[in-house]
């Protein structure tokens, strides 16, 4: 039984339990926001480490640094909620923008030379995402391949294609429309940040209020019960794989726009940060539990840690170790407060 369902059932129970319901709702929110105290502590630490930390410009850096990661975290969280996962999102994150860029960039900057319209390139990026997602969804859900090993193999394949396609070359000199998402700002805030926040908001509202969104929790909580309740579980789960891959492709486009190039290594090792952000944000690896707002706090936390470590004078060779330790502390805290309780 999922927490979400438990709350709903309680809410439907008779009047005497009303105050208990209220407490449960509060507790629920509290669980989702486990990381808020950690984030507050980190922000204080950031201010102590370097006075530059609290300048608007730096906070925008933090947001922009987490934007592309955030898109993939939304994607992965959706799949996790339905009880599956997809490691190959990082492969899509790299390969989709690479193919799009390859078709639109001039030959001199490692493109194919066809110099397609940049909008067509964007369509290719999304289409690659959709194709990979459909393939993964069909084989994991319909053909019943183990999600871990299948998407791991897919990830290796996609990363390998990304490297082999252009022999390791970087595609650069990309047209404005293609890099718009990662390079432009609206009202002083990067477009990528707006899009990521919007994606989190839409996903959260969809999960909370849409029939299919509710169905996703039900599927992740108890697949057979969901099937018995008349939910078309396979269709929903395949659809989630497709949407997630498209989101990952958009995330890759953001990163490509930021560095105004697509490298052969884009996306490698990204998936570890994605899982870390989702899980410390309270998304259960077992499926059926967690909220988008929690996953968002996970992204904010990881991005803050990166920024503060960069601003601090910690020797750069130690940054990974500190990063890992902070994720462990956040996980421990989540366990203590209860998001990771079965």
């Amino acid at each position: 039984m999922t927490v979400e369902q438990a709350v709903e059932r309680k809410a439907a129970s008779p009047a005497p339990a009303a105050s208990r319901d209220f407490r449960l709702v509060v507790l629920n929110w509290f669980r989702e926001l486990t990381l808020v105290p950690v984030i507050v502590v980190l922000m204080i630490a950031g201010a102590v480490v370097n006075p530059v930390f609290f300048t608007p410009s730096n906070l925008i850096n933090v947001a922009e640094g987490g934007a592309a990661l955030g898109m993939v975290v939304v994607a992965e969280s959706l799949i996790l909620l339905t009880g599956k996962f997809d490691i190959s999102l990082q492969g899509t994150f790299g390969l989709a923008p690479l193919l799009g860029a390859w078709l639109i960039a001039p030959k001199a900057s490692e493109g194919l030379g066809t110099e397609w319209n940049p909008w067509l390139g964007l369509v290719v990026v999304l289409a690659v995402g959709l194709a990979v997602g459909t393939f993964n969804g069909l084989l994991v859900i319909k053909a019943n391949f183990n999600a871990f090993i299948f998407t791991l193999a897919m990830s290796i394949l996609l990363t390998g294609l990304q490297l082999g396609w252009l022999g390791g070359q970087t595609v650069y000199n990309l047209p404005e429309a293609f890099i718009y998402l990662g390079a432009e700002s609206w009202f002083g805030i990067p477009v990528s940040v707006w899009v990521t926040i919007a994606s989190f908001a839409v996903a959260a509202l969809f999960l909370r209020y849409h029939r299919i969104g509710r169905a996703m929790y039900a599927i992740g909580g108890n697949l057979e019960a969901a099937r018995a309740a008349g939910i078309q579980v396979d269709r929903v789960r395949i659809g989630v794989f497709m949407v997630a891959s498209v989101l990952a492709a958009v995330g890759g486009l953001m990163q490509a726009g930021r560095v105004t190039a697509v490298t052969a290594g884009q996306g490698s090792n990204l998936i570890f940060g994605v899982f870390a952000a989702a899980v410390i944000g309270g998304i259960s690896l077992e499926g059926g539990r967690g909220r988008m707002v929690g996953a968002l706090t996970g992204v904010i936390l990881l991005s803050l840690v990166t920024n503060i470590l960069t601003l601090s004078n910690i020797s750069s060779t130690w940054i990974d170790a500190v990063d890992g330790a902070i994720i462990l502390i956040a996980l421990g805290l989540a366990k203590l407060i209860g998001t990771e309780r079965a």
């Binding site: 370097n50 530059v52 300048t55 410009s57 730096n58 850096n61 922009e64 640094g65 592309a68 001199a108 900057s109 290796i156 990363t159 390998g160 490297l163 252009l166 022999g167 390791g168 070359q169 970087t170 650069y172 000199n173 890099i179 390079a183 700002s185 990067p190 990163q255 930021r258 560095v259 105004t260 190039a261 490298t263 052969a264 290594g265 884009q266 490698s268 090792n269 990166t306 920024n307 960069t310 601003l311 750069s316 060779t317 940054i319 990974d320």
Partner: protein
Amino acid sequence: MKRQFGSRFRVPGLLAMVAVMALACGSSPSSSGGSSTPKIGVVLTYNLPGFWGNYLKYESQYESQLGVQLIGPKVANVEANGNEAAQQIIDVRSLIAQGVQALIINPADSAAIGPALDYAKSKNVPVVTVDVAPSQGSVYMIVRADNNAYGSKSCDYIASHASGPGTIAMVEGDLTSLNARDRAAGCQSVIQQKYPNFKVKSYETKDWGTDPAVQNATTALTAISDLRGVYVHWSVPEDGIIAAEKQKSKWADVGAANHIILVGNDGSPHECDLIRSKTLDATIDQPADKYAYYAIFYAKQAITGTKYSAGQSTDHNSSIVTVQGNLEDALAAPLVTLAGDNGSTQVNSTDLWCNNH
């Protein structure tokens, strides 16, 4: 700069030389047996995909020019992440089993390549390493440029062209590679010795990742109030750094009063374009073409048994030096600028690989 030898890189001349040598050696019995072309195994890493991608292009071009057969290139790729050193030992063994007469290796790790070198030696297969000097084991020749000089030339340029004293942000490559460490040390030492009014703030980038590098530079733009210049160890992040400066309204053309000096390393064709358009200040010409050419050249010399010794000067504006007990052809890697002043090479010079692309 070492310009006195007229460092013109002329393939035909070298070809002629090789041809003469090949004729001279033609009569002596060689392990290749008769007229068959020498077989040379290639093992590379892919820690800098852009650079090695270009290297591979040149390599296949010179393969036929120099009349050899290259086997490989075995590439320890991204998926071997962290295990490249072990993979390379396996690759070396399998290439030797295929009967190669010499090996060209770009070691993933200066020390961990030792066992592979020992094995090759036990089988009498000479090794040329490219870009990395092994700290263990013996090789026939190291083809490499002086990475310490990359760092010192780059940071010397920034400090000497800055509008006033301040801080240089150094976006370092992966410090597990000797090249990144040498570049970092070269920059630090020139600033400490010659420019007491300057400070260097370093940012390491794991695995030479483009996005973390751009993010680090973006942080530097915000965090360092007296930022005079950015030295980035390789070329790929430059576009992103320039985009970040524009986004933060800190952009000014090269030469403008409030311009933040940007110097990269690689000398790629795109970098040369950026220098011509007054977007990038300078770069170091890391000669991908010469790396590819001389790796094959020396591998061939090794098969024919030519002997080299330290102190010998070459016909291409470099000299043979000793590095950790091995011989190295320390290829010239000039600073490239628009003005071509103070011993730097003008960006349109045909000596640069960006103009022979």
